[in-house]
């Protein structure tokens, strides 16, 4: 048979048509991705100039130093700064993902700013006798906090409110401790500055007295599994043993589940292997009394030093606790939650407000905070957009000043809380950060650590303009050993005296009505963290998912809850729905709860709860 050109063309055409029906061409198309790396539906990372910038993390009081890798100015990853004197190169999981917060699905992007300002002016003008204007500052010690205090000093009947400072405002010198008794404090899981804690860890013996095996308990040198809620009893018993070796311990032994002998031996161990330090989860007065008995004050506990402030700032309103304010007396309340801080249950705040139309303005970056209860929720910049200073951490015995310097511009329409409040009070608070920096520079004390070159320079050798520039590039000022900072909080050598019996003895009714002791499963609310934190609760069991509680299967059965199910968490402050998971590693009588907005609304420190089937 003779082949014509037509046959060849037909064969080629048929072959081409047939090939379309085979996987080969489609595979080639897919393989083209090998060079293009571009698939529909998959985002392409932006390219650009890569630079390193430095700042300090504002997500908790530790304020760890951060090196940000930026692509065309946009931070794409964060890491610690090795050799940093305070944070020692460490960064926690929350800090590592801080650059995602501006894109959080719960981000508050707009708010009624003008309406809030008008409502505040009107409410301040029509205040009745005894009615006050107050600022609740969840992260005291910042320069913004001084602005609030100055503002409230300028207002008639102005109050500056803050959560109680841990350890009565003292600072911990972990490097000097040789034995640490932790009464449920999450020492290795978010307490203080992680890098500093891990650096000091090799030098002290850690005894963790806690009902459940928390991550800290799992890594402690000794874990004392005590009964839920008996931490105050143990601290009190130890203090009593130290003050009077013949003291009766049967009641404390009954409460804690330890023997008399164990308590006595523990007390002797703390004295024998000192300098000792006692920390507690809920800042128990009993722990302060025990620290006093152990002679910790002036050794492992010192007055917390703060960086100098300009002289005119010192005419400021004093810091007060929310509990000290008369009920139904606050007409206008500002709440600054632009940076995460301590939490006070909303019910404790609400009762301080006047009954008829109080004005509550919150400054927040997320929709999940107190803004849910306030008339006005105003949006603020969030780390790493904002520029703010970070007060010294609890484990920083020296004064320090560092800025969480902005790494990216905030979106339009964000409100500066301190400027808003200062304007309402009629004071000038512009350039407060720079004024504070000038005051520090004027003192001539301490050293400046710069991140880019990891160098410490005596402050007296740094020019004022260079100091300000360095601070905006993540540098850290730290007072020296012999320096005397202009301001300090806490009272070394004069601890808060122990008054009254431990909470578990003083409220038997509460113990019966709410039999479960609440322990938070982590220091942060997962719902207010980067979406990537789902790796820790959805793709592993390191943390509990938001609004979830774990309890012993026997406790769950007693409450009529079977397996995984929905339930109601009830505390003296209210109730909220939660998911319940049984977990036999949680001891009976205890409830491990993931902190979340709804849970925090009804759980304060030392809270008891019950769980009922939904």
């Amino acid at each position: 048979m003779q082949r014509t050109r037509r046959d060849i063309l037909l064969f080629m055409g048929g072959g081409a048509a047939g090939a379309v029906l085979t996987p080969a061409p489609w595979r080639l198309v897919t393989d083209a991705a090998l060079w293009s790396e571009n698939w529909p539906g998959v985002p392409r990372p932006a390219r650009g100039e890569i630079t390193a910038r430095y700042t300090n993390c504002a997500l908790c009081p530790a304020g760890c130093a951060v090196r940000a890798r930026c692509v065309s100015g946009q931070p794409v990853s964060l890491a610690g700064v090795p050799s940093h004197p305070l944070s020692q190169g460490a960064l926690c999981a929350f800090g590592l993902t801080g650059h995602h917060l501006p894109y959080h699905p719960q981000r508050l992007t707009h708010g009624p700013v003008e309406e809030a300002a008008a409502a505040v002016s009107a409410a301040m003008a029509k205040r009745g006798p005894g009615e006050s204007v107050a600022v609740l500052d969840l992260r005291p010690g910042r320069s913004a906090s001084w602005t609030y205090r100055r503002s409230m000093a300028a207002v008639n009947n102005g109050l500056y409110l803050a959560p109680p400072r841990p350890l009565g405002g003292a600072a911990v010198d972990l490097a000097k401790a040789r034995i640490v008794l932790s009464l449920g404090a999450a020492l290795l899981d978010g307490w203080g500055t992680p890098g500093n804690v891990h650096a000091a860890r090799a030098n002290f013996h850690l005894i963790q007295a806690e009902p459940w095996q928390s991550p800290t308990a799992a890594l402690a040198d000794q874990w004392l599994p005590i009964r839920p809620g008996s931490e105050p009893a143990l601290a009190l018993a130890l203090a009593n043993v130290l003050n009077d070796p013949k003291t009766a311990l049967s009641e404390a032994a009954e409460a804690t589940g330890l023997t008399d002998k164990q308590i006595v031996e523990l007390a002797h161990e703390l004295v024998r292997n000192g300098p000792a330090l006692v920390l507690s989860a809920d800042d128990l007065p009993e722990a302060l009394a025990l620290n006093q008995a152990l002679g910790a004050w002036g050794r492992t506990l010192v007055a917390r030093a703060e960086a100098p402030v300009p002289e005119p700032w010192k005419k400021a309103a004093p810091e007060r606790a929310v509990a000290s304010v008369p009920d139904a007396s606050i007409r206008v309340l500002f709440i600054d939650e632009s940076v995460p801080g301590d939490h006070i249950p909303w019910s404790a705040i609400e009762r301080k407000l006047v009954r008829d139309n109080p004005v509550v303005v919150t400054f927040a970056w997320s929709r999940q905070g107190y803004g849910r209860h306030a008339q006005f929720a105003l949006p603020t910049a969030v780390y790493p957009e904002l520029t703010a200073d970070i007060p010294p951490a609890i484990d920083s015995p020296s004064a320090a000043f560092r800025l969480s310097a902005s790494l990216m511009a905030p979106p339009a329409g964000m409100v500066d809380a301190s400027a808003f409040i200062a304007k309402a009070a009629g004071i000038d608070a512009a350039n407060a950060l720079q004024q504070r920096a000038d005051a520090i520079h004027k003192s001539g004390q301490g050293t400046l650590f710069t991140c880019a070159d990891a160098k410490s320079t005596p402050l007296k050798d740094v020019k004022p303009a260079d100091f300000w520039k360095a601070l905006n590039e993540g540098a850290c000022w730290q007072s020296g050993a012999g320096d005397s900072p202009a301001h300090s909080v806490g009272r070394a050598g004069a601890p808060t005296a122990f008054v009254g019996p431990p909470a578990f003895l003083s409220s038997p009714q509460q113990s019966t009505a709410f039999p479960l002791v609440v322990a938070f499963s982590g220091p942060h609310a997962m719902s207010l963290a980067s979406p990537l934190m789902s790796k820790l609760y959805q793709d592993s069991d390191l943390r509990l998912a938001p609004n979830t509680a774990a309890l012993h299967p026997d406790t769950a059965r007693a409450a009529g809850i079977a397996g995984d199910s929905r339930a109601l968490l009830e505390t003296p402050f209210g109730r909220c729905p939660i998911a319940v998971v049984p977990d036999s590693s949680v001891p009976p009588g205890m409830l491990e709860v993931a902190p979340g907005p709804e849970v925090l609304d009804i759980c304060g420190a030392d809270t008891r709860a019950k769980v009922v089937a939904a």
Partner: protein
């Protein structure tokens, strides 16, 4: 494909040592890994444990009842098997290869057809399948690492010791006129991020590196060592029960818990 015998003679044989007595289970390694390698957050509505996590920290206990119960956190990532690497053998697409220069077991999503044979073959369950196209909340894609391409739905992925960082270190070394990467110039994200310093990284061919020293430590062990796959991740613990659990033929009986 390079044979395992050959890559043992390679210039570098990267490995890791994880000190379980230091790991606090904080999860910094997991999120740092996800940030570095453009691993997306858990997909909305996805069931638990179906997301991609190149390194996963497990909480393992001694099987005793409270209060005798003791637990340890064990980060598990691709063990970078150095001998008879199971995933390499089963892949029909040659999408898994051992890099002869580093000993790193690499996964090429462009070649992967999603058969998941490698997942079935991996004795460490350290491979993850993309059930969904990766998605980030609006705007968050701006924070993606430009050195790592996000993977599409339908392919398997796993830890590659942050291979993008290895390339970057190699480029820096070349630019500086060095013949190779110096110790410390190349560190995976999980190592860099661990606040407790529990994870150390280095070249097993360098006898002074942390993993090489750990390999000789009597308190070190490797997971499923009896399989003979010569994993390059060494775990370390002074606690006897931890090593005993690791060597046990079966894990302790699971207690009643819906969390794990």
């Amino acid at each position: 494909m390079t044979s395992n015998r050959e890559h043992q003679k390679a210039a570098s044989r990267y490995g890791m040592t994880i000190d379980l007595d230091r790991c606090t289970g904080c999860g910094a390694c997991m999120v740092a890994c996800a940030v570095e390698n453009n691993v997306p957050p858990a997909h909305e509505g996805a069931p638990a444990r179906k997301g991609v996590t190149w390194i996963r920290v497990f909480k393992v206990d001694n099987g005793e009842d409270y209060p005798a119960n003791r637990s340890v956190f064990v980060p598990v990532l691709c063990q970078q098997c150095g001998e008879d690497t199971p995933c390499v053998h089963v892949c029909p697409q040659q999408a898994v290869e051992v890099d002869p220069a580093t000993g790193i077991v690499g996964q090429m999503p462009e070649r992967c057809l999603g058969c998941r044979y490698c997942m079935a073959a991996c004795p460490y369950h350290a491979r993850y399948f993309n059930w969904w196209d990766p998605q980030w909340p609006a705007g968050m894609e701006k924070t993606l690492n430009p050195n790592v391409a996000p993977r599409m739905r339908g392919v398997v992925e796993k830890c590659n010791f942050c291979h993008g960082r290895w390339h970057a270190a190699k480029e820096r070394a070349a630019a500086a006129g060095k013949s190779g990467i110096e110790a410390g110039d190349y560190v995976p994200a999980c190592v860099e991020s661990c606040p407790a310093g529990a994870i150390r990284f280095g070249d097993l061919n360098d006898s002074s590196s942390q993993p090489a020293l750990a390999a000789k430590d009597p308190h070190s062990f490797r997971l499923l060592e009896k399989l003979g796959t010569e994993p390059k991740i060494y775990y370390h613990s002074q606690r006897d029960w931890v090593r005993q659990v690791a060597a046990a033929p079966k894990p302790p009986s699971a207690k009643e818990s819906a969390r794990g």
